[in-house]
Symmetry: C3
Subunit: 374 residues, 3 copies
Amino acid sequence: MSVLADRETPLIRNCWYVLALASEADRTLRSRKVAGQAVVFYRRLDGNVAVLRDRCPHRSFPLSKGILDGDRLICNYHGLTFAPDGRCIAKPTDPTNAAPLSAGTYPVVERDAVIWIWPGDPALADEALIPAVPWLAQDGWDLVSGYLRFPANYVALHENLMDLSHFAFLHAGNIGTPAYAAAPFRVKVEDGRINLRRVLENAPLPSLLSVPTELGDKPVTRETDTWWMSPGLNLTHSNVHDPDPAPGRPGTYAFKVIHFITPETQNSTHNFWAVARDFRLGDPAIPEHTQASFKVAFQEDLEALDWIETLQGEEGLEFGEIHLGSDRGGLLMRREMKRRAWREAAPAGSGPAVRSDVVGQARRLDDHPSEEAA
Amino acid sequence: MSVLADRETPLIRNCWYVLALASEADRTLRSRKVAGQAVVFYRRLDGNVAVLRDRCPHRSFPLSKGILDGDRLICNYHGLTFAPDGRCIAKPTDPTNAAPLSAGTYPVVERDAVIWIWPGDPALADEALIPAVPWLAQDGWDLVSGYLRFPANYVALHENLMDLSHFAFLHAGNIGTPAYAAAPFRVKVEDGRINLRRVLENAPLPSLLSVPTELGDKPVTRETDTWWMSPGLNLTHSNVHDPDPAPGRPGTYAFKVIHFITPETQNSTHNFWAVARDFRLGDPAIPEHTQASFKVAFQEDLEALDWIETLQGEEGLEFGEIHLGSDRGGLLMRREMKRRAWREAAPAGSGPAVRSDVVGQARRLDDHPSEEAA
Amino acid sequence: MSVLADRETPLIRNCWYVLALASEADRTLRSRKVAGQAVVFYRRLDGNVAVLRDRCPHRSFPLSKGILDGDRLICNYHGLTFAPDGRCIAKPTDPTNAAPLSAGTYPVVERDAVIWIWPGDPALADEALIPAVPWLAQDGWDLVSGYLRFPANYVALHENLMDLSHFAFLHAGNIGTPAYAAAPFRVKVEDGRINLRRVLENAPLPSLLSVPTELGDKPVTRETDTWWMSPGLNLTHSNVHDPDPAPGRPGTYAFKVIHFITPETQNSTHNFWAVARDFRLGDPAIPEHTQASFKVAFQEDLEALDWIETLQGEEGLEFGEIHLGSDRGGLLMRREMKRRAWREAAPAGSGPAVRSDVVGQARRLDDHPSEEAA
Ligand code: FES
Ligand code: FES
Ligand code: FES
């Protein structure tokens, strides 16, 4: 059995995932699937968000097809009525029945303009584990954002994001430049998070960056710091340094590329994305160009992962994919995800021991120790 | 393992099911699936109905794509020719072959304007077991009728029909009234049939009944007697008593609500329905209103069962649905269906013993003994 | 377990199959599935055809979505570059990585205007096993041809072609005549190939043959020699003898009906077909009529096999189909295919012994020894 997570690895549930943008939660009942389980969410009268399992405990009617009455959710099949915390507070077809009953609810936190949900064991849902993404709703930053549903397992999307080497090929027309593919990078693991850092000096930017920065073909330094924060978040700090800025222009342009990744099912993934920047704030010309460019790039990723998922599904995984030196970030991530999935599946104290140096022994990876250094 | 039938319980085959309305059988070959098996039916020259398995015993060509030649059915692949009783009477590509061969046929009875079929062991097909539904073709009764294909297991539809408590919610706009949801009811088991009786006194009727009876908002007595007759039939006798009839108006209005339920596959169900009445016979204003009203209500049921079937299919049954006091009729029915399914599956003399009091021990049901009395 | 191959028998891989018409291979990357595995093919600059597995060994990206650069195929995800023989010749994201790597390739032979592929063990790919089909590209022969994708297992299509008895029914309007269904035939096995020979004397031709030969209703001798050559080819030599030719007309008209059969998946099949003739060469009136007639007949086959595959899939094979004397050719073929499938699946020296006389013992087949003689 591989030490690397793949499309067949059970979904990790003990994690904070983004359920929705804060702006999506209102007085309409909305259903969304997280890690294979449908949930219903709405905004309470006091402004807080309620999230319940979207399945009535009585006869599995979807509660999202029910009625929101004040803060209470009424099942439209037999009228069981639930408080926002999931407790059943009325049984109109069986009024004398006092047995306690709950629809099931989830730890939920609204922060930084998104709604986080913890689909796993509530006892482990520590709010301190929620990663900070302040740029979504902070002065000094502007953003464009979007949503894509990937018809692929979330591991494949995470690996795509941990691998900047594909830019030069899959995204040749917008993000990628030939020099970028082979640029050296450095990988480090820090507190279970994985960091990939690549600095490309004295090279022109791809159009996706050169247009908003108005730097054209000018050779600049591009510093890309990608963090796999958790199974639910990939965060990239991208800084462009202009060694010789024109008068009135900044020396540094900062971008934050944020990918909230939420497994929908074993083979589909929610991807809420946002790109924040600290320059040309409020400039109406930017959003349209940036949005359009990123959409093209992300659509290329989606198409690629769809093709791969289909092939892997039809022909199986026994094929045995090989690894390249440029996969080191992705492999560390997949090892970490496999370890977390095992930990969840295993009864306490059991489970295979995963040695922390095991990726170093994975097939063909040790051929390229030089990739370790920037 | 649960003592209650559910969507995973093998379909009961030893039962009379309605295959079709009598009016559907003509000189066209028609294919329909019953309990997972396709059959072909047509009307013979003498007026009787022939039903054969819709699969040629030679190379599985569907006989319904063949040719009806007089009373004989000719397979359109290699010409095997079958009599209406299934016997092969000609093998044109192998004319000297005298081996006996049959396409398979079924016990069939045409009665009360419908065609009954017994898809199980023919040795057990006792015509005396066919329930009488005289109102479909009897003087003194008029009816409206229709057909719906439910994308759900037949147990769910049976349970829906044994549970009048959902009227006030799912059908709030047409059949349901708030008082009805919590009205007391009585359940009784008689010869393996299950009866649910609910009497609501001194209350106005829902529009579906008040319009055809022209009783408007007048408080009347409504007596509803629902019988689960078999896996193939749910029959409701609904009587409205007007304690103080206007001059020239009847004191009692009788409705018969008939649901023929025929499992198509494990997860889809044929539902032939009819609503008969004994008043305003021949009045052209009635059919349209009644048909439209029932259609809306049955469509609401269909939609609900579709959502539930989908959820149960995607998320499984381990969820563990809880029961309410108002489910007693449905639970007795599901226990009886499970028992019949077990009896069919088991070799003679084996199988788990099902104690007749076991539903009384099901989760949370005993909390509500008061539901037993009317 | 049956000694006859059916829709559940593992696909035979050690066989030459037609991948494509030679005319399909050009400078475009084309993907096609053979025996469950996707391959990509293109024509090299030197005119030879290259075929690689259509799955990048790195992250399963379909190579057919990549870029053809001269003779090299570049994966569009991370740029791995492959020579036409499958060898990886560049790893742009990991340039110092010298580990050998291959995309996988296949024995391929272009001959007689088609491209043959051997999807099984390359060590067994003997070119001498490729059957000759010279009429596709030979002076003195003209042809019409086409392609159909059958939504059915290849065994069913092979059996359809080994069974001329269905012509009188399924193709009553074009190929079939009543006399043909019951005409005697002879079956023989020769070097693992199966031959079915039927001679019908002194009978008028079906329209599909009478129109191109311009023989109208004239009674002639029709000699049909069908060869199951391999799991990949069914070849029919059809000769029409006019005992009394009109002045200037030939005494014999020859047709070759060629069916290349290539399993796509367990339940779908590529069928490249061609009908060659040795008369009225270059006559523009022929192709249109012959093409149209054969298309109708093959479409009838496709529809029939689709219905049968669907029924068998939904209701299973436990049903137990019976055999007729006219099936002898098909049964010998199915026995041979099962034997080959077993041989592939079994480790050397193991596997059930299949006695060569076993079809003679199959159910009901021995009832018709008279069918053995012409
Ligand atoms: S299914 Fe929700 S109340 Fe019955
Ligand atoms: S399949 Fe019916 S006669 Fe052959
Ligand atoms: S998937 Fe082909 S190079 Fe990575």
